[in-house]
Amino acid sequence: MKNRLKVLRAERDWSQADLAQRLDVSRQSVNAIETGKYDPSLPLAFRIARLFGQPIEAIFQDAAERQD
């Protein structure tokens, strides 16, 4: 699953550790999500969306959806 986490984080000038602290997860989690190697659970996806003040679908994009 593709996402805009890295872009949103960079816009706020946050490091992966900063974002991890805000989400109460490990930095490795943030890195794995950003690189698309790990899809977060719905609760974590909602936390991310709330943190950036955007709807989930504006941050996460399903690979199949992008091909449409």
Partner: protein, 149 residues
């Protein structure tokens, strides 16, 4: 991993190791060794078994705390590791089990003792954790599915 979570992890790990060792070895102080002058003392064997059961309860309890302390990424890593790692380990152990069970050690190194009693003890020793692990897997999986009805 945020600092607080990391500190809790190490505290739980230390408590797990120290507590498990203390509880499982407590019978040494309380009743002594289970075998005295080559004779097995049934009462002491029971005490040692109960102590190990309590130690395992302690270890599992803190194992649960350690698991819950992780974030979801860490939990998934643990689940994948235990599921596939344990499966891989079991798979690798099967040919070793057959080799030793059929007397391979004695065949290649005659100095290694071999007898029907040893063979039986080895087979029970191998199969007990394997079967218990498989039973645990089935029970937890069924319980999980039941809880999600």
């Amino acid at each position: 991993m945020p600092d607080q979570r990391r500190r809790r992890y190490w505290a739980y790990l230390a408590a797990t190791v120290v507590g498990t060792l203390v509880i499982s070895q407590a019978p040494l102080v309380l009743v002594g060794r289970p075998i005295v002058h080559g004779v097995i003392d049934p009462a002491r064997v029971v005490v040692w078994s109960i102590a190990v059961a309590l130690a395992m309860l302690w270890a599992v309890g803190f194992g649960v705390l350690m698991f819950r302390n992780q974030d979801e990424f860490g939990r998934q890593a643990s689940q994948v590791g235990w599921y596939w790692g344990a499966t891989l380990g079991l798979g690798l152990s099967a040919p070793i089990f057959v080799f030793i069970g059929l007397g391979g050690l004695h065949a290649f190194w005659p100095g290694v003792p071999a007898s029907p009693e040893l063979k039986r003890a080895f087979m029970i020793g191998y199969l007990l954790p394997v079967l218990m692990q498989f039973a645990g897997f089935l029970i937890v999986r069924a319980g999980w599915r039941w809880s999600k009805r």
